[in-house]
């Protein structure tokens, strides 16, 4: 490849990385924790030694429908220790989703006041839409495409020297070279994983945008309907207006088991429940397949089978759509794959942070003191430490608020704690030199992630640590703490070997930084 073309490839890789790096850091860090989303749902609730059983799913359905007749238009029933009903209500033309659990009601079907948390949902929102309502999903979709472009560029840049770079994590005296080698090594090791995330993340974030563009430019207005048909297991039914008696939930499950004995039921989707056109989709997983999603669709009034979509027996569109989700969520290979995704997710965070740091230092080295580079470095450190510390503080706020005299403030406390910590970290990063920020916030973040399990144990009793869900979440938090302490140790070790890059000790204004020489540190 010509030298100037290679230079433009490197510039493109750097710019696209800079534009999308911080958003991807947030998505990857929250995504790594989100690998334990199911367990986190249990972690966030007050510790109870006795759990509800799933025989109350019918009771939950009846109760929710009795209290909100509109809930049957579109509802998901989630089986498990504590069955949940997630249903949609239309308020002033806008769709509003509600979640209710079996334990939210007493035997008479009356709502019970109890502390409520949205910690798992908040972490999930940070992951897929940066916590930004509505446009956040589309923003992440576009960022995923840019991420894909950065990956293609990265492959073009590194392919010729791939083997060499695999063994090139050198320490000798040059900090910028060290960051570069670390970035390249992590990028090369986890390239397939990142490619999966770029494509599946873009697919999930951009499907609505693509439908719009395809419809406008290539296929016409019918594309919207065609896309919906291609992705749904069964067309959305229209209400007839004629009420009908519905079959019990157990019959839906029995029909699903009859069709797919190996199906692990993950949810029941009910549409137009109570109407003679009502349809139930018993969805879940057939273990042993990457594309493991399966659906058994039936009439809701008599549980008569309508269609089955399962591995080995489904249309080509479903065959492709299922791995888009399973490869993204890592839910196809049990705990081992989830742990692998967790580790690769954290490594991805390192990739984005090191990319931003490299860009800042490279710009300073090439163009001299740069306000943009100083701001980018500080912003990177502020957001990075703010998000990490913010999530840990949010976890602590959950337990502190839940067991305080004001448990009703838990949801607000979780989000407020995150936002406040993030703001403090960003402001702090702009107030003090970056080297001080790194020296203070790295061990602080590590300490916070040690403190969360300790606080949870102190409040709920250390016997609760033996609960498998709490054990997994606490273990993940301690693993994050350990990785942060390791990075801090590497940072301290590097400083003992070489002086820091001038950008790390200077101010934001260009005249506050002395001229930097390439590879000075």
């Amino acid at each position: 490849m010509r030298v100037d073309t290679m230079k433009r490839q490197i510039d493109l890789h750097a710019w696209v990385g800079i534009v999308s790096g911080l958003a991807l850091f947030v998505a990857f860090f929250a995504g790594a924790i989100n690998m334990f989303h199911h367990e986190l749902h249990h972690w966030q609730e007050p510790w109870r030694t006795s759990e509800a059983n799933d025989t109350s799913m019918q009771a939950l359905l009846d109760t929710v429908i009795a209290r909100n007749p509109e809930a049957g238009n579109w509802m998901f029933l989630i089986p498990g220790d504590e069955p949940a009903a997630i249903w949609q209500e239309t308020v002033d033309g806008d769709a509003v989703w509600h979640t209710e659990h079996a334990s939210d009601f007493n035997d008479a079907g009356e709502a019970i006041e109890r502390p409520h948390s949205e910690l798992a949902g908040f972490i999930n929102e940070l992951h897929f839409r940066l916590g930004i309502p509505v446009v956040g999903l589309y923003l992440m979709g576009v960022i995923s495409v840019l991420y894909g472009a950065a990956l293609i560029g990265g492959l073009v840049i590194h392919w010729p020297k791939l083997k060499k770079e695999f063994f090139a994590l050198k320490h000798q005296g040059n900090l910028r070279r060290y960051w570069k080698n670390l970035h390249n090594l992590v990028g090369v090791i986890s390239f397939p994983f990142h490619l999966i995330f770029a494509i599946t993340g873009a697919a999930m974030g951009c499907f609505a945008l693509l439908t719009l563009v395809f419809g406008a430019l290539a296929f016409g207005p019918q594309f919207q309907g065609a896309a919906t048909d291609a992705m749904e297991a069964w067309p959305t039914p229209e209400a007839s207006g004629n009420a009908a008696t519905m079959a019990p939930v157990d019959r839906y499950l029995a029909t699903a088991r009859e069709q797919l004995p190996e199906l692990e039921v993950g949810w029941l989707e009910l549409q137009q429940y109570g109407d003679e056109n009502a349809v139930v989709d018993v969805g879940g997983s057939v273990p042993g397949n990457v594309a493991h999603h399966a659906h058994v669709v039936m009439r809701a009034d008599n549980a008569e089978l309508l269609t089955v979509s399962a591995p080995g027996a489904r249309p080509f569109n479903h065959f492709l759509l299922s791995p888009v989700y399973s490869l993204h969520f890592g839910d196809y290979g049990g705990l081992f794959v989830r742990l692998l995704y967790f580790v690769l997710g954290l490594l991805g965070c390192l990739l984005f942070v090191s990319g931003n740091i490299m860009w800042s230092e490279r710009r300073t080295d090439r163009q001299g003191p740069s306000r943009a580079a100083a701001i980018m470095l500080r912003l990177t450190l502020g957001v990075t430490f703010g998000v990490m510390a913010g999530i840990a503080v949010s976890f602590m706020a959950n337990k502190l608020a839940m067991y305080s005299p004001w448990p009703g403030t838990t949801v607000v406390a979780e989000k407020a704690a995150f936002v406040a910590t993030l703001l403090v970290a960003v402001l702090s990063a702009f107030r003090v030199p970056p080297l001080t920020t790194a020296r203070l916030w790295l061990p602080l973040c590590g300490g916070l992630y040690v403190l969360v399990p300790l606080l949870q144990g102190a409040i709920e009793g250390f016997a609760s640590w033996l609960d498998p869900d709490r054990l997994l979440v606490n273990g993940a938090l301690l693993a994050i703490a350990a990785s942060l302490f390791l990075v801090d140790r590497l940072r301290a070790g590097r400083l003992r070997q070489a002086a820091p890059h001038p950008l790390w000790v200077g101010g934001i204004r260009p005249d506050a930084t002395g001229p930097a020489e390439a590879g000075v540190a």
Binding site: R8, A149, L209, A218, G220, P315
Partner: protein, 84 residues
């Protein structure tokens, strides 16, 4: 700037290229619609990269505009838009 041009003008071009692919391939596009949408994303990312390595902003922008126009004209010669 070049990558931005690729981002903005690359999406419609990628979608129209997929439309042309749907015309050329003798399989009903409804049957491989998800693959087409995934391909569109890959084309879009590749176009951002191609625009990014162009020698100038003008060349990147002009090439993408011309390619968009050509793809649109080609699509008009087919019965794809509004077809069943």
């Amino acid at each position: 700037m070049r990558a931005l041009l690729g981002g903005v003008l690359g999406l419609p071009l990628a979608a129209m290229l997929c439309g042309l692919l749907a015309v050329v391939i003798p399989v009903d596009w409804h049957d491989w619609l998800v693959l087409m949408m995934l391909l569109c994303l890959v084309f879009w990312a590749a176009l951002i990269v191609l625009a990014g390595v162009a020698s100038s902003h003008w060349r990147a922008g002009l090439t993408l505009l011309v390619a968009n126009g050509l793809a649109w004209l080609l699509l008009q010669t087919t019965t794809l838009y509004g077809g069943a």
